[in-house]
Amino acid sequence: MTLLKKIVDWIDLRIGVREIVRKELTGYLLPRNINAWYSMGSILLVAFALQVLSGILLLIYYVPDADKAFKSVSQIMNEVPFGWLIRMFHAVGSNMMVLALLLHMLSVLLMGSYKRPRELNWLTGFILFSLVQGISLTGYLLPWSQLSFWATTVATNSASAIPLIGPYLVEFLRGGVLVGPPTLGRFFALHVAVIPLLIAALIGAHLFLLKRTGVSTPPFGQPETPIPPPADSYRYEDHPGGIPFFPNYALEDLRSIALYLACFLAVLFFDPYLFFPKDAFIPANPFVTPAHIKPEWYFLANYQTLKLFPNELIGLSLQGAAMTFLALLPFIDRGRQRHPLKRPLFLACFIAGLLLWIGLGIWGHYS
């Protein structure tokens, strides 16, 4: 202990680490009525880090070549010791990460945390959401199974509905008229290099913005309404008399992360193929389209919307409009009230929207 103290003393003397600890950890005060939903961010950080780690491990044995990809993934699953664990960790982990991201977004919506002055936080979060969808879509192709191949065919094809540039855009996305080896090349680069870097950069921006605005006060169970932010000057939202981040909230974060890992590992060990339809086990065959090709669960609503409208352009435009509306929500919904029960119109739209998304998803699943 004394040796440790000496080392810390030595470092502290030079760069003042104890001051950082005091300012950023023990003296970083959070609202007293903070709740568990505020640890979704920490869960997401861990989830992303785990994807990066397991992804790098997969890269050791995975071969990004149309002739060898499926075989290399089979080899990882069947021959490399614990390869199945790493692979399933990555594949199941991606689904769990999307789920955590959705919950994070829903809680931010419900607590109105996207409102002024946190519009930029919402915007960066929304871009992160799109990037995670992108990384999942590109990763889905990599095993080069029937599922990979045809899900990518359908997903890229939906862009063809865009007037004028649509058909060329599809070809550009695929690197050819049809999905083929060139598609694997670009999706691989996107999946393992471009999008992970973009995600890391946006996480940085997201956290920086949080640091500058300060943590929001939850709208629930607060004794008095907080002072609204000034309209004409910057103010950091601090919480005098709040609970320290370290050790108090850090422990809550840890508990939430443990809970997340427990759910994640329960799926991994007890129902590993939950997210794997049987076409995932058949190598890609460009000449045989399987009967019921479906996207992953979080794209089912999009898939069903596209199917519902005879004109693809209408379906696509509707989705674009919905996404744009969501992205710009903080600039549209500008009331100061954040408590969901005091925002009946918002709450009604929230529930209706959620039910619509789930309903379309279930419909898409069984259609």
Binding site: L57, I60, V80, P81, F82, G83, L85, I86
Partner: protein, 138 residues
């Protein structure tokens, strides 16, 4: 009393941490550990006719490089082709009937004995048997 409780919980926590680290570390080590090579230490069969008098034939054996040489007098030798200096692969010099290591000019005789240069030890001998026109190494 409270102090004892703390120590106990601390030890318990450290134990759980160690268990978790092992549960993560072991699969990770196994995943990364080299496979193939030694476990696949099968025998290598080379047809006798493949090696002319005064000639050599290099092949993979037990995950490493080995060489079969037929001496001018007709005798066969099987050696590791890995130089005992810093591990380069030796080359067969047909004219001089010896091995030259291109890295630091180490020289070995047909039997693997060091003739010149820095190698500290002779090339390792590999057991083999000949029957029915086939050489079985290993």
């Amino acid at each position: 009393m409270d102090h004892k409780r703390r120590t106990f919980l601390g030890i318990g926590l450290a134990g759980l941490g160690a268990l978790a680290a092992a549960a993560v570390g072991w699969p990770l080590f196994r995943y990364l550990a080299p496979r193939s090579s030694r476990e696949a230490a099968g025998k290598v069969v080379v047809p006798e006719g493949d090696i002319p008098e005064g000639g050599a034939r290099f092949f993979e054996y037990a995950g490493s490089s080995a060489v079969l040489v037929r001496k001018r007098d007709g005798g066969l030798v099987a050696l590791s082709a890995v130089c005992t200096h810093l591990g380069c692969i030796v080359q067969w010099q047909k004219e001089s009937q010896d091995f030259l290591c291109p890295c630091h000019a180490g020289r070995f005789s047909t039997d693997g004995v060091v003739i010149a240069g820095p190698p500290p030890k002779p090339l390792a001998k590999i057991p083999f048997s000949v029957s029915g026109g086939n050489i079985t190494v290993g």
